[in-house]
Amino acid sequence: MAQKTIENLEEVTIRFAGDSGDGMQLTGTQFTNTTAILGNDLSTLPDYPAEIRAPAGTLFGVSGFQIHFGSNEINTPGDHCDVLVAMNAAALKVNLQSLLDGGSIIVNTDGFNDKNLKLAGYTQNPLKDDSLSKFRVYEVDISKLTALALQDMTISGKLIDRSKNFFALGMMYWMYNRPLETTLDWLKTKFKNKPEILEANIRVLKAGWNFSETTEIFAVRYDVAPAKLPPGRYRNITGNQAVAWGFMAAAKKAKLELFLGSYPITPASDILHELSLYKSHGVKTFQAEDEIAGISSAIGASFGGALAITTTSGPGVALKTEAIGLAVMVELPLVICNVQRGGPSTGLPTKTEQADLLQALYGRNGEAPLPVIAASTPSGCFDAAFEASRIALKYMTPVILLTDGYLGNGSEPWMIPDLDALPDISPSFVTTPEGFQPYSRDHDTLARPWAIPGTPGLEHRIGGLEKQDITGNVSYDPENHDLMVRLRAEKIERIANDIPLAEVEGAPSGDLLIVGWGGTYGSLKNVVARQRAKGHSVSHLHLRYLNPMPRNVGEILLKFKHVLVPEINLGQLVKVLRSKYLVPATGFNKVRGLPLRSAELEIEIEEILKGKR
């Protein structure tokens, strides 16, 4: 057996890539779970192929999964990767541009036959020419080795082929010195009733490990020490799952039933899938005939006293617009979660974007103000969903919760919160008819009472026509309309008193303030940290509340010479800041369906600091 060196690394980014059918998502998830349990901080991002499962070997059928992990704080899944696992030629072709110069490629040579090469559009085999000379290439015939590992078992060729991702996983476990247990346990539960498959997968996984250990192909293996995370119990979580759980936690805190009315759409569907698992928690999920019925059913459930939510993306939000207006008018609690994706129209359904902010703020007929909250990390989606629910219930209002494809599909370790320590939510159903008026208002919050059907003596009628102040009767009175329009606006404005002040990361004043919102948090944090390390006077303000904004935002902005607002859109938050605070903020905008890349932004920042912009 060859002697292997062990090197220590602070952080690594690995990208698994193969055909849709190659199980790359599963491989990535397994690697992630094992790595998480080892105590690394991490961040992941799957990169699904566009929409349909494509024929094997094609460029558009490539599925990828990137994990960035380390012994320090990890904020993003990484702009580029250090290691690329490519199961076939197409996977190499599609992902090579994300590999750092000097990075490693582990290729399954069996995926580079003539057919594969042709499908990938290679005129010659890149393994055979010098096109990969900038990289360290490890050629392994994974397919063959997998078959060999299973040769004495009587299982189908299809199954053998499907197991080869475990060989790759075994190699990576060896290379980064990770134990097999987590995956072994998972396999045992998953294939409890399919001993053949269980056995095959275990063998192949181990074969991958042993191959790496035994052969001389890899000379070095790496150690990545655990990160110093705050103490607590952790699990790995995606943004979509965190949203679902945030709602469940809010319902529990509020002692309400959770009702989801939704229609499947990428990339929001996973929230529906997740919540539909929890029948035993009393969660009711209703797959409606369309988005309009999705939100309408939620409004009905809210009228009935449930914590009602609806989840969607892109074109689905557009369809919900009319009903959101109704919810504003009838002042019922409701959370509309928009997992933003590339637009306009169908756009880039599997890609991320932040281009629905202005729609969230303004996209309704009439004056229809509502709170808008945005999550900024996958695990932060839990808090955002919880907070959106709290505000909806306390202020009797629809709330828009913005996440995005990157947050929804991305994952990172989440410190499991103590349920008892979460903020209290106490929706107060009116229970007695004495003095009940459907549109009387709470003195502080201006919320109207929630009088739910089934309560004796509270029979009343609501609707989308303008309401008379206090009685809630239909009113066409001009002065009343002006009053009600202002009351509804004022109610939302007052929420500013009930949310934390914004906090600048870095110095509270200086040359440049980077203002962001949503899923760019990790990238911006990294960029600002690097800039500060260079000695530049750059700070970072990340907004979680987009409407109303924290009371001190204006103040903060004025303390900086320049305000730069990077967004994955053509400049939306920047419009709002300029209008609200009359500051000459400028935008930095890339609309590529991808998280922001740090390098470009740093160039922009340095130009600004040099006074060139």
């Binding site: 779970n33 998480a36 349990i37 105590g39 995370l229 705050p230 103490p231 607590g232 119990r233 952790y234 699990r235 759980w245 469940m248 529990k252 002692k255 309400l256 039933e257 009702f259 009315g261 929890y278 029948k279 035993s280 928690h281 009393g282 969660v283 009711k284 209703f286 409606a288 005939e289 309009i292 019925a293 309408s296 059913s297 939620a298 009905g300 459930a301 009935g304 006293g305 449930a306 009602a308 009319e322 009903a323 109704l326 009838v330 410190m415 499991i416 929706p427 739910i452 059907p453 089934g454 309560t455 004796p456 509270l458 029979e459 009628r461 609501i462 609707g463 989308g464 026509l465 239909v474």
Partner: protein, 350 residues
């Protein structure tokens, strides 16, 4: 842990329905329909039937869309929701799924329910959520002042079709049946007794009950149904269908409907050729028959069928949802969020 709603439902479960009168269901709001509008009769009949249902007012909810008809909830002293155009069925669906303990009614119009709300309508039918849907069919858009609707007859001259409409109308009963409805009925604004009977049966039905009510809009479509509702013609133009009874009509009950093959035809009971025994006997449990009867609607030379086309039992969506929850809880115990959060792979950082 119980939820606030469970608390409420439990704490009010003991309250018996009072002995109401129709008047108890009237609100203090001025009724704003045009004088002479058929909606008044539907309101009156509904208020009359409510006391017989034995459901407390506070357990009753009326949900409507937008239209003249959709003003209905303002006039019913129950919980009410006058929502947006076409969405009453969807809103009521969510309400009923969240709150199976409530008696939920949908009031809609031929525009609200069949035009913009058509999709929710057909999906409600197949889902069989336990709602009662009253469709006020006046074959016109009343509220927007008189455009033709999806139930208007072809060639109709209206504000938006000065040269006559081109669209073949829906037959709401056939549409409901084609969507796998479990309860489909038709009644008339000017036949209060019949309407009361139908509304009661609709209330009793478990699952979605769909009742089409021919309603006169005396401002924009006056007399659309007079041939079926007015004394001098109705005996000849309407056949009341009743479960287990042969289809007989005519002033002197002298005519009947027979199946010729599978096609209904009118026969005389007087000329000795056919007797009552030859007539089609209605069976409201038979889906095939319900299609045949509903299909009579637009056929000339056949009387208009009025009554209950179909009333069958099928699992009820909202109940099944509750059953799934109970079942899951039996199987797995009541969900515990703390356990869920720490289930699967989790680890501790010291």
């Amino acid at each position: 842990m119980t939820t606030l709603i469970e608390d409420l439902v439990n704490s009010t479960a003991g309250i018996p329905a009072q002995k109401y009168s129709a008047k108890d269901f009237a609100t203090d709001q001025d009724v704003r329909w045009c004088p002479g509008c058929g909606d008044y009769s539907i309101l009156a009949q509904t208020q009359r039937v409510m006391p017989d249902l034995g459901i407390p007012k506070h357990k009753t909810v009326f949900v409507s869309g937008i239209g003249c008809s959709s003003r209905f909830p303002y006039y019913m002293d129950t919980f009410g929701f006058h929502s947006i155009h076409g969405r009453a069925t969807a809103i009521a669906s969510g309400l009923k799924i969240a709150r199976p303990d409530l008696s939920v009614w949908v009031v809609t119009g031929d525009g609200d329910g069949m035009s913009i709300g058509g999709n929710h309508f057909i999906h409600l039918m197949r889902r069989n959520i336990d709602l009662n849907v009253l469709l006020f069919n006046n074959q016109i858009y009343g509220l927007t002042k008189g455009q033709y609707s999806p139930t208007s007859e072809i060639g109709k001259i209206t504000k938006s079709t000065p040269f006559g409409s081109l669209d073949f109308p829906f037959n709401p009963a056939s549409l409901a049946l084609g969507s796998s409805a479990t309860f489909v009925a038709r009644t008339l604004d000017r036949d209060p007794k019949h309407m009361q009977g139908i509304i009661k049966r609709a209330a009793e039905h478990k699952g979605t009950s769909f009742v089409e009510i021919y309603q006169n809009c005396n401002v924009f479509n006056d007399g659309a149904f007079f041939q079926f509702t007015e004394k001098d013609s109705k005996d000849e133009t309407v056949v009341f269908i009743e479960h287990g009874k042969p289809l007989i009509f005519g002033k002197e009950k002298e005519k009947g409907i027979r199946l010729n093959g599978f096609s209904p035809e009118v026969v005389s009971l007087k000329d000795g050729k056919y007797s009552v025994n030859d007539l089609l006997v209605h069976n409201e449990k038979d889906t095939t028959l319900s299609f045949i009867l509903a299909d009579m609607t637009h056929k000339p030379h056949l009387p208009r069928p009025v009554g209950i086309f179909l009333a069958i039992d099928r699992p009820v969506y909202d109940r099944e949802m509750d059953r799934q929850i109970s079942f899951a809880r039996e199987q797995r115990g009541i969900g515990d969020l703390k356990k869920l959060f720490t289930s699967g792979d989790s680890w501790v950082v010291q």
